[in-house]
C-alpha cells in the first residue's frame, strides 16, 4: 500500500527544478483534442475537445489570447493563455501554421491542404488578401519590421516571400525537397528540408541559395533557444534534435529522441519539451545530460505551448 505521507515526503524532497510551476498545452492532431499537462507533476490533467485537427498556435500581440488552429475543423480557437479557458471560436479556412506580423498589423494563416496563404487584419480578423500557393504552404517567419513573410511550400520544394506592405509576392525560389521549418537568422533565411537531410541557407532578399548544413534525415523544424545562442533542428526520419551554434551554424550536439520529435518549447528550468508525433507522448529533455522523461498525451501530438504562469487545473 502506498503511504500518502511517504509520497508527500518524496515530493518535497524532489529537486526544485523538477517542480517547475506552470502548464503545457498540447495539440493532439489526430485525437481532436488539446492536452493540458501540469509541469510540476508531469501528468496530463485534462483534455479540451476540439472539432477535428489542431496543429499549431500563435499568441495575440498583446498576449490576451492564445490562438489554436483547427485545420480540418476550419476554425481558430481563442484560449485564455493562463487558464486555457475557451473564449471564442472563429470560422477560418484551413488554419495550419499561423503567426502575427511583428508590426501587429496582420495575422498570416497558411492553408496547407487548400494551397492558400491568407492575410487577415490582426484586429478585426477580416481577410485582407488570399495568395494562391503552389503547393502546400507549411511554416512561416517574418522580417523583424513585419514587412515580409516567408512561407515554405512543402509540395513543390520552394520558399516564397510576400511583401505585406504592397501585398504582393516578391520572389519564389527552390530550396530542397518538402521544406518545412523556416527561420530568419542573422540576415540569412534558414529552411529545413524534410525530404532531405539538410537546412538550406538562402538570401532573404532574393531567395538565392547560399549553402546547406547537414543536420539529419527528415530535417523538419527550427527553434531558437531563449538566450539566442542555439538553434535546434528536429529531424523526423533520424528522430534526432541537433543543436547548432546560432552564429556559426556549426553542430554542437545531437540528441537522440525516438518517437518523432516535432515541435518544442523551452522551460525556465532549462528543460526542453518536445512533442513526439509517433509515440503519442511528450519528451522532457535535460539538454545538459541528454536524458529525457516522457509523458502520455493524445494521438499524434503536434504543436506545444508552454506557460510557466499557466494553471493546470481540472
Amino acid at each position: 500500500m502506498r503511504s500518502p505521507i511517504l509520497l508527500l515526503a518524496l515530493t518535497l524532497l524532489l529537486p526544485a527544478q523538477a517542480r517547475a510551476a506552470g502548464a503545457v498545452l498540447v495539440m493532439n492532431s489526430s485525437a481532436a483534442s488539446l492536452s493540458v499537462v501540469d509541469m510540476a507533476t508531469q501528468k496530463e490533467i485534462r483534455r479540451i475537445p476540439v472539432l477535428r485537427e489542431p496543429h499549431h498556435w500563435t499568441m495575440e500581440p498583446d498576449g490576451a489570447a492564445l490562438l489554436v488552429g483547427d485545420t480540418v475543423g476550419n476554425e481558430i480557437l481563442f484560449l485564455d493563455p493562463v487558464t486555457f479557458e475557451l473564449k471564442r471560436r472563429l470560422p477560418i479556412s484551413d488554419p495550419y501554421q499561423l503567426g502575427f506580423s511583428p508590426d501587429r498589423k496582420y495575422l498570416v494563416v497558411n492553408g496547407i491542404a487548400r494551397n492558400q496563404i491568407d492575410v487577415y487584419d490582426a484586429k478585426t480578423y477580416t481577410l485582407v488578401k488570399r495568395f494562391p500557393a503552389s503547393t502546400m504552404p507549411s511554416h512561416l517567419d517574418f522580417t523583424p519590421d513585419g514587412g515580409t513573410v516567408f512561407v515554405t511550400l512543402q509540395g513543390t520544394g520552394k520558399v516564397t516571400a510576400i511583401d505585406l506592405r504592397k501585398m504582393e509576392v516578391i520572389w519564389t525560389a527552390p530550396t530542397g525537397k518538402a521544406p518545412a521549418g523556416v527561420m530568419l537568422q542573422n540576415g540569412k533565411l534558414l529552411v529545413a528540408n524534410m525530404g532531405e537531410d539538410n537546412v538550406s541557407i538562402l538570401d532573404p532578399a532574393t531567395g538565392k541559395l547560399l549553402g546547406r548544413i547537414t543536420t539529419g534525415k527528415g530535417a523538419h523544424q527550427l527553434f531558437r533557444s531563449p538566450d539566442g545562442k542555439l538553434i535546434y533542428v528536429n529531424n523526423r526520419i533520424d528522430s534526432t534534435s541537433v543543436a547548432l551554434d546560432a552564429t556559426t551554424l556549426a553542430a554542437k550536439r545531437t540528441y537522440k529522441l525516438p518517437g518523432g520529435p516535432d515541435d518544442m518549447e523551452f522551460a525556465p528550468d532549462g528543460h526542453i519539451w518536445f512533442t513526439m508525433r509517433f509515440a503519442h507522448k511528450l519528451a522532457v529533455l535535460d539538454p545538459a545530460t541528454g536524458t529525457f522523461t516522457t509523458i502520455d498525451v493524445g494521438r499524434s501530438p503536434h504543436g506545444i505551448f508552454l506557460n510557466p504562469k499557466a494553471v493546470a487545473s481540472k
Binding site: 492532431s29 489526430s30 485525437a31 481532436a32 475537445p49 476540439v50 472539432l51 477535428r52 480540418v72 475543423g73 476550419n74 476554425e75 470560422p91 477560418i92 479556412s93 484551413d94 492553408g111 496547407i112 491542404a113 487548400r114 494551397n115 492558400q116 502546400m136 512543402q154 509540395g155 525537397k177 518538402a178 524534410m194 525530404g195 534525415k217 527528415g218 523526423r236 526520419i237 528522430s239 525516438p258 518517437g259 518523432g260 508525433r277 509517433f278 509515440a279 503519442h280 502520455d296 494521438r299 499524434s300
Partner: protein
C-alpha cells in the same frame, strides 16, 4: 486497448512509412500518412476480431455447409485488400484530395463546410453521442446509396459481384467491385461536405461498426430477437437481402447497421427464414471466378448496360435458364 493500437500505428509510421516516403521523395505527405497507418492497424485488428468471433459462430450454428469452400477464399482476399492494404491507401489519398479540392472551392465562395458539433455545440466533449449521430446519418445515407445501386442496371452490374456469392460468410462484406467502392467513396465525400466527417477520430467505434457489418454476412443462424432485430441488423435480417429471390433490381433489407430506414421506407423483411443466397442472374464467373475475373466480368457487364448492348437481356436469359 486504444493506446496499444495507436502505438502500433506510430511504430508502423516511424519504421515503415516514413522511411518509404523519404525514399520515394514523398515526404510532403508525412502528416497524411498517419491516417493510413491508423487505418491499416485498426483494419488488421478488425479482421482478427471478426475472425475470432464469427468463425466459431459459423461452426456452431451454420445455415449451410459446403464440401468445397474455395469460393470463400476470394472473399478473404477482398477483405485483406479492403481493410488492411491497398484500398485504405487509395481511399485516403482519393478522399483527401477530393475533399480538399471541393472544400477549397466552396470556401473560396464563402462556404465553410459545417460540422455537427458546430451546429450543436453541446456535442463537443460527448464523443460517444457525437459518433452515434454521425453513424446514424452515414447509415441513412448509405441506405440510399445501396438502394440506388439496385435501381440502375449499370450500377447493379457492379454490385452483382457482392450478390453473386452463393457461399456467403463473414468474409463477404468487402466483396465489392473496385468501381462500386469508388462510387461509395464519392458518396461518402459528398455527405462529408454537408456534415463534416471525423475520419479516424473514433477508431474503436469505427471498428465496432465494421465488425457489425461483417457479422451481418456470417453464415450462422443468429437472430437478435423481436426487439433486437429492430435495433441492429442481424445475420438473419441481412441474409434476406442476399436471398436468391431478392437479388437484382427489386430487393429488401438494404440497411447496413440500423434496420430503421428499411422500416421507414417499407423495404424491411423480418420473416424468420434463413434463405439461400446468391444471384441466379449473375454470370458464373461472378460467383466462383478469381478476383480479376469478377472485376472484369462486372465491368464488361456495366459497359454493355450503359451502351445498351445486352447486359439486361443476358440476365433475363440466366433467370429463365
Amino acid at each position: 486497448m486504444i493506446p496499444i493500437l495507436d502505438s502500433a500505428a506510430g511504430w508502423l509510421q516511424e519504421t515503415v512509412l516514413y522511411p518509404l516516403l523519404y525514399a520515394l521523395d514523398l515526404m510532403q505527405w508525412e502528416d497524411v500518412s498517419f491516417g493510413w497507418a491508423l487505418f491499416a492497424v485498426y483494419g488488421l485488428v478488425q479482421v482478427i476480431v471478426t475472425f475470432a468471433v464469427c468463425l466459431p459462430l459459423e461452426r456452431w450454428r451454420p445455415v449451410e455447409t459446403w464440401p468445397d469452400q474455395r469460393a470463400v477464399l476470394v472473399d478473404v482476399l477482398y477483405t485483406l485488400i479492403s481493410r488492411v492494404g491497398l484500398l485504405p491507401l487509395i481511399t485516403f489519398v482519393l478522399f483527401y484530395k477530393l475533399q480538399v479540392a471541393l472544400d477549397g472551392f466552396l470556401t473560396d465562395h464563402g462556404w465553410v463546410p459545417p460540422t455537427l458539433e458546430r451546429i450543436f455545440p453541446f456535442l463537443l466533449g460527448m464523443p460517444v453521442l457525437t459518433f452515434f449521430l454521425y453513424a446514424v446519418i452515414l447509415d441513412f445515407s448509405d441506405y440510399w446509396r445501396h438502394r440506388l445501386s439496385h435501381v440502375f442496371n449499370w450500377w447493379y452490374s457492379l454490385h452483382a459481384v457482392h450478390h453473386a456469392q452463393r457461399q456467403m460468410t463473414f468474409w463477404s462484406d468487402d466483396r465489392n467491385h473496385l468501381l462500386d467502392d469508388i462510387i461509395g467513396f464519392i458518396w461518402f465525400t459528398a455527405v462529408a461536405l454537408l456534415i463534416g466527417i471525423p475520419p479516424m477520430q473514433f477508431p474503436l467505434l469505427v471498428l465496432l461498426l465494421r465488425f457489425l457489418e461483417s457479422l451481418s454476412h456470417a453464415n450462422t443462424r443468429l437472430s437478435f430477437g423481436w426487439l433486437g432485430e429492430r435495433l441492429l441488423i442481424s445475420p438473419r435480417f441481412h441474409r434476406a437481402h442476399h436471398g436468391v429471390t431478392a437479388a437484382g433490381l427489386d430487393s429488401v433489407n438494404y440497411g447496413a447497421i440500423f434496420p430503421w430506414w428499411d422500416m421507414l421506407f417499407r423495404t424491411a423483411d423480418f420473416s424468420a427464414e434463413y434463405v439461400q443466397t446468391g444471384d441466379p442472374t449473375a454470370e458464373e464467373a461472378l460467383a466462383t471466378g478469381s478476383y480479376a475475373a469478377q472485376q472484369w466480368v462486372a465491368l464488361r457487364r456495366m459497359v454493355r448496360d450503359i451502351f445498351g448492348r445486352g447486359g439486361k437481356e443476358e440476365r433475363k436469359k440466366a433467370v429463365l435458364f
